[in-house]
């Protein structure tokens, strides 16, 4: 790695960055396994290989800061404080999941944790995060919102509209583009003109490209952006170059074929974000091998417990399907079988 680890941070915090990246890694590996075994409903898009982006970004945020996430969101959510057990329960569609099983992989949110949205619509979260930044600014809070999106989402019109709005209203929003080199199965440069980091320039939004596999670099860039946002100077754009190890979605082998050169994949495996960082921590004496191993086994165990928790959690009652649409009871709202629609207190987690 080019840059030194974050020696400026307390040792505990430096180690915690490692722990969080390992947590995401083990979580996603487990999800891949469960999916292969046919134990997970729906689609999953894994974050393996991109861990340093989520952790570098979210570790710089305060608990009251916010994020919006994408279809590839597990890493963002874990880094923002979601627990592996409730995450796993949601992936299983169980009542102890963050959304009581209504959301699933692409829609896990926890407003209590500042997770404002995960999205099945590419680019869909960009206006939402821009809006939470507007709301916080209007209400006099100094919280910031980070909007995560991919290189593919950088070609959705709402990205530019939101940058323009954020620029003229000086909104405390940070646009973090995870450029993993591919939009599904097509290389980014075939679809995307120019450098994504430059796309804020016309709006006067500073943009930087960082090594997304270097947690320290990511963290540093985000810290600068946060300072700017809290200081009232408005939005920033960060393009984090990274690479996903797995397919666009689990199970793509069925049709996608070999769309990524072997050498390319090897190259990025070598630039793997976790081990390199761990070795730096050891080199700088923050951690020893035993400490690293301990973290890994703790997190690995936690994931196994999470799976047990998720499988033990009951499915929601079928009638819960008719809850949570509206916040109040919906007088006369017709349902096919005329089932009364009302909200339960326990449905409301707020």
């Amino acid at each position: 790695m080019t840059t030194p680890p974050r020696a400026d941070l307390p040792a505990q915090e430096q180690a915690d960055l490692l722990r969080q990246m390992i947590r995401i890694r083990r979580f996603e590996e487990k999800v891949a396994q469960l999916f292969k075994r046919g134990q997970l409903p729906g689609f999953v898009h894994l974050y393996l290989g991109e861990e340093a982006v989520a952790v570098g970004v979210c570790s710089a945020l305060r608990p009251d800061d916010r994020i919006t996430s994408t279809h590839r969101g597990h890493g963002h959510l874990l880094a923002k404080g979601a627990t592996v057990d409730r995450m796993m329960a949601e992936l299983f569609g169980r009542v102890d999941g963050y959304c009581r099983g209504k959301g699933g992989s692409m829609h896990i949110v926890s407003f209590a944790l500042g997770i404002m949205g995960t999205n099945g619509i590419v680019g869909g979260g960009i206006p939402i995060g821009t809006g939470s930044a507007w709301g916080d600014q209007h209400l006099g809070r100094d919280t910031v919102t980070v909007v995560f999106f991919g290189d593919g989402a950088a070609n959705q019109g709402v990205f530019f509209e939101s940058m323009n709005l954020a620029a003229i209203w000086k909104l405390p929003v940070i646009f973090v583009c995870e450029n993993n080199g591919y939009t599904e199965w097509t290389a980014t440069e075939k679809l995307t003109a120019g450098k994504i980091a430059d796309r804020g320039q016309p709006f006067g939004i500073p943009g930087v490209q960082v090594d997304g596999n270097n947690v320290g670099d990511v963290r540093r860039a985000v810290e600068r952006a946060i300072e700017r946002a809290r200081g009232g100077d408005g939005p920033s754009l960060i393009e984090a170059k990274t690479y996903r190890w797995h397919g666009h979605n689990e199970g793509e082998e069925a049709f996608a074929g070999a769309y990524r050169p072997e050498e390319e994949q090897q190259h990025w495996r070598q630039r793997e974000p976790i081990a390199a960082y761990a070795r730096e921590l050891i080199a700088s004496g923050v951690l020893d091998q035993a400490g690293w191993d301990a973290i890994d086994s703790e997190e690995t165990r936690a994931i196994d417990d999470a799976v047990a928790f998720g499988k033990a959690s009951p499915f929601p009652d079928a009638e819960e399907a008719l809850l949570h649409l509206f916040a109040d009871s919906t007088v006369g709202h017709p349902t096919v079988r005329r089932t009364p629609v009302r909200d339960t207190p326990d449905g409301d987690q707020r």
Partner: protein, 329 residues
């Protein structure tokens, strides 16, 4: 409906604004955004910037998808945004943020969050507005679960439903049928609400139940008055709210009259008229004395030339003929 004094006759648009002003006065988290809401071509927000300042009445760029979606994030963190979309057709530009985000986020989250947002707009034919400025989007939006939809027909309801919409903890689409903006009616000065989800029987009758929506309500009432002279007693119902639809009031009426005509100020196919007829037939088939009739627009875009526009839209004759048909056919 009981009105508290003093009431005076004001314009529909003014009534909307009074409802909005009351909501802004009682709660500073209520903010109004949209294109040129400071001057407001239609008028519902005109002048509010003077009272509430340019942070609570804020002009947006022409970026509908983004500001419609921004309200989702803003409302989730504590604002109560009221958005002026200006023209009903402009909802199409923001359809994903409306139908996939605003409408679904609460449900997808398992009820974690309230999203108090009002999306209002002038909408429908205004006289040669042509194809891209004349549509009513409510048939499309009714199919989207998660949006309440109100469409008042009188200044009284316009004010009361606006206050209800802003106080509602859910995304509410508030449709102001274009041509109603300049109509007048009795409106109390004080703040009051008209409940969302409750239809209003605008005229009592015994022979035919005539359900009319938006701008067609005042026309239906005139036609009903004329038909009275021909010995046909027409009950006119204004749903006022399209989601959630107060089907019970309509069915109860049909149970008394045995006849149903539904006029919608929208294209026929998959319209509110289709929905109401189908729903009534399901639950009150046995009481029907004649085939229920739908009166709506031809299945064409709204053309520019007045003669063509007239041919596509609903005429008074269409409504009258449909009522008469249920009596004779």
């Amino acid at each position: 409906m009981t009105q508290t004094q003093p009431a005076r006759s004001i314009y529909f648009i003014k009534a909307m604004q009074e409802g909005l002003r009351a909501a802004m006065a009682e709660d500073d988290t209520v903010v109004v955004i949209g294109e040129d809401v400071d001057r407001s071509i239609i008028g519902a927000t005109r002048g509010l910037i003077g009272e509430f300042g340019d942070q609570r009445v804020r002009n947006t760029p022409i970026s509908e998808a983004t500001f419609v979606g921004a309200c989702v994030g803003a409302s989730a963190v504590g604002l109560r945004p009221v958005v002026d979309l200006m023209v009903g057709s402009f909802f199409y530009v923001a359809m994903d943020q409306l139908a996939d985000q605003a409408a679904k986020l609460r449900y997808m989250s398992g009820g974690q969050v309230d999203l108090p947002i009002v999306y209002f707009t002038a909408t429908g034919p205004s006289g040669s507005g042509a194809a891209q400025h004349s549509e009513n989007p409510h048939p499309m939006l009714m199919n989207v679960a998660g949006l309440k939809i109100v469409m008042p027909s009188t200044p009284y309801d316009a004010k009361g439903l606006m206050l209800s919409a802003v106080r509602d903890p859910n995304p509410v689409v508030y449709l102001q049928d274009f041509v109603l903006g300049g109509t007048k009616g009795e409106v109390p000065e004080h703040a009051y609400t008209v409940p969302i989800g409750v239809a209003d029987i605008k005229r009592r009758g015994t022979d035919v139940t005539l359900v009319a929506i938006g701008a067609l309500v005042p026309r239906a009432l005139k036609i009903a008055a004329k038909l009275e002279k021909d010995g046909i007693s027409v009950e006119v119902i204004d749903p006022r709210t399209l989601v959630p639809l107060d089907l019970d009031t309509i069915v109860e009426s049909v149970t008394r009259t045995g006849r149903l005509v539904v006029c919608d100020n929208a294209r026929l196919t998959c319209s509110a008229a289709s929905e109401i007829v189908a729903a009534v037939v399901e639950s009150a088939f046995s009481v029907l004395k004649a085939p229920p009739q739908r009166v709506a627009w031809e299945n064409f875009p709204v053309p520019f030339s007045p003669v063509l526009e007239k041919r596509v839209l609903v005429s008074d004759d269409d409504i009258r003929a449909a009522v008469v048909k249920t009596m004779t056919g």
